[in-house]
Symmetry: C2
Subunit: 423 residues, 2 copies
């Protein structure tokens, strides 16, 4: 009988072994894909100084940060906290080790981050993020925007989900330039915010929100038309050009979008991307390319990956200009929604390949040899070392392994044995 | 110029990419070895309730625990903390999920734990532990003590350190029985403590410490002789038997030590183990088998792995008896000492296999194809997407990759290219 509540804290992911094996398979596929694309794996500490972690944060982020106190030093106050993403520690890392890194620095971090969000279904307080970033020193060619997106698409390909994944790509300069043309720069944040939510609310709400900003009905209609622009590269570039906007930033954004999509097409992925003016990604971080991945056949799932280009990674930490582009798969949430939609199933209730069952102590030495041989072939092998009756041993073997080998006197003498595959 | 101190908090491990690659190689070898031995990988949350984490802890452990406070809920007080080992969360996990697990439950956890220790060289506040445990329900055969030790030895074999690793094995029942025979049960903790430190102080200090307990010189000499018993199985069992101790617990301990070592010998590892009466492993947790791994050619390195058998994993959480045996490789500290002793070197300053260098934009499509083909062979490939001069591109390529492929007009036309291996 339990003496105490042993459930994990709500908002924490805790998996049974079979589910953990499936989760790890996805994580391993991401790790391997990032490696093959030349991203260098680093890890930053989970605990960092508040001065670093909160240099830029504010609002919700700061409220959600887990602060850390050592009992013995409680008088210190909480000047340390748990990282809430990989980007801030990466900024510190790049500045700290700048002289030891080669730029463009292609880097990946895969690990747990922490946010004290209100716990609710599918929201996690402790969650895996699987990030790729490319950091330039001084400048960073547009090529790397494509590099990040194709790498992330390749990771989703490796999942073999059996449903298409589409990268919806935009460039924030396009909307910024459009707002300049419309003399709406002062309302830029509000407009970005309305577009960011446009997919989650009825079209009428979006119209009302634009009207609420005091825009004339002409500009409201133009903005509503604009955010519906979506499709293949040629089609979208044509529609954007046809708008006749004379702003340099707008034109630069269109050219960058064209170039990045062209590079991704050259990688043979035209069918996996589309341009979409509804993608803006938050408010003030990204400055160029932005993207989100969706599963078109599962619209309820929402974004399964996102990222973009930022002008300066570490402006709070250094004078050195460090432009970057990156993206992230939120694996804990992704795993949850894939499960909820039946897109992954625990590959094997028994992650172990073979259970070797010696009939008695006399066969253990031989069983150890058989197990070692199978392991050398890469198999996962467990030796059933209980002193229970054979029936109980076999019942256990079938619970933990895909197949079993029973070893008795005859098997030891002949050196031959049968492999029984459990149904 | 830096605007702020960007060093990680002291006591945190932060590696450059090449060192991180070496670290990950060791971690992957451990992961793969544990998998092949049939241990199921799970992860427990890093944050857990103080009620769980501190149910048993006390003294130093409690002082070193990092407590966690959410800013938004500071009024809650710190009722959550960071796990300081894998064992306490495992106890909670096993009790919580008991009905969904098959026993004996062979389980591994590889992850970071946290202790707010005083920072000093080679001591880490955030560190990887790589644990294996086998948990029984009601009972757990002695076979699994050997299973844990051979699995851990196999992991060290996989490291290919080029220096032998020896498992020093003992059984705490032997000393407990001996103390009963000598009527020293009341001083048991003190005696265990003296023996635990015997290797770190001059022999004379150990004698003085025993004398200080008020033992007669006869028993002091017997204890000093006893803790020198060390060697192969047959030799040690003979020496222990020759002591003529009539205590049941002592005899049981000797029989268990004999049986566990015999099982490991049957796995072909006689040369990698010895019995050693100086191994006691802390004070009150372990109840039977205890072990430590050392590198005999590097005595200064100390223990590189340790573990043992415990009577009851989760006595604070449940009435169900859950005996277990486990061991752990403290990878962060191990990596530090292996480096300090030149036993690992960063395998490749360039973890990337191939840098593909298109001469101009015209070759990018072909470069993407070449990169994709090489990736399909499992290679790590980076495409150099900078618009710098060829010389600068090659300099960068040689910094990040082991080899390079330059692609110009000719290569695109002929579909043939040269692979240049960087010196």
């Amino acid at each position: 009988m339990k003496k105490i509540n042993t459930a994990p804290i709500s908002g924490m992911q805790e998996l049974l072994p079979a589910a953990a094996a499936t989760f790890n398979t996805l994580k391993d596929k991401i790790t391997e894909t990032y490696r093959r694309h030349g991203y260098l794996a680093i890890e930053t500490p989970i605990i960092d100084r508040c001065e670093i972690l909160l240099a830029k944060a504010g609002g919700d982020t700061e409220k959600q940060v887990y602060k850390v106190v050592k009992t013995a030093e409680a008088a210190d106050g909480a000047d340390q906290a748990l990282r809430f993403d990989h980007t801030v520690p990466l900024a510190r890392y790049v500045v700290e080790h700048e002289n030891d890194l080669a730029f463009p620095f292609k880097v990946t971090q895969i690990g747990r981050n922490f946010r004290g969000e209100r716990a609710q279904k599918g929201r996690f307080r402790e969650f895996y993020q699987c990030d790729v970033d490319v950091i330039g020193r001084g400048d960073l060619p547009l090529y790397y925007d494509a590099d990040v997106i194709t790498t992330l698409l390749d990771a989703f390909d490796a999942f073999e989900l059996g449903t298409p994944v589409v990268a919806r790509i935009n460039n924030r300069k396009i909307l910024s330039g459009l707002l300049a043309e419309y003399n709406l720069e002062a309302q830029a944040d509000a407009v970005f915010n309305i577009i960011d939510h446009a997919e989650k609310v009825p079209a009428e709400k979006t119209r009302e929100a634009f009207v609420g900003l005091g825009l004339g009905s002409d500009r409201v209609e133009k903005l509503l038309d604009f955010i519906e622009i979506c499709g293949g590269r040629a089609e979208v570039i044509k529609a954007l050009t046809a708008m006749g906007v004379q702003d340099d930033t707008f034109e630069k954004g269109v050219a960058e979008l064209d170039a990045v999509m062209k590079l991704i097409e050259e990688d043979g992925r035209a069918a996996q991307i589309k341009a979409d003016m509804k993608i803006v990604r938050g408010l003030d971080y990204y400055t160029g390319t932005v993207f989100e991945f969706n599963l078109p056949e599962y619209p309820g799932v929402g974004s399964v990956c996102g990222g973009g280009r930022y002008e300066n990674l570490a402006g709070y930490f250094t004078d050195q200009q460090l432009p970057g582009v990156g993206g992230s798969i939120g694996l804990t949430r992704l795993f949850y929604v894939l499960n909820a939609n039946g897109l992954v199933t625990d590959a094997a209730v028994q992650p172990v390949d073979v259970a070797v069952v010696p009939l008695s102590e006399n066969e253990i030495a031989y069983a150890l040899k058989v197990a070692a041989d199978l392991r050398r072939e890469g198999k996962s092998v467990t030796l059933v070392g209980t002193d229970k009756k054979l029936g109980d041993k076999l019942k256990y073997a079938a619970k933990v392994a895909k197949s079993g080998i029973v070893l008795g006197e005859t098997e030891v003498q002949t050196g031959q044995y049968e492999v029984k595959v459990f149904a």
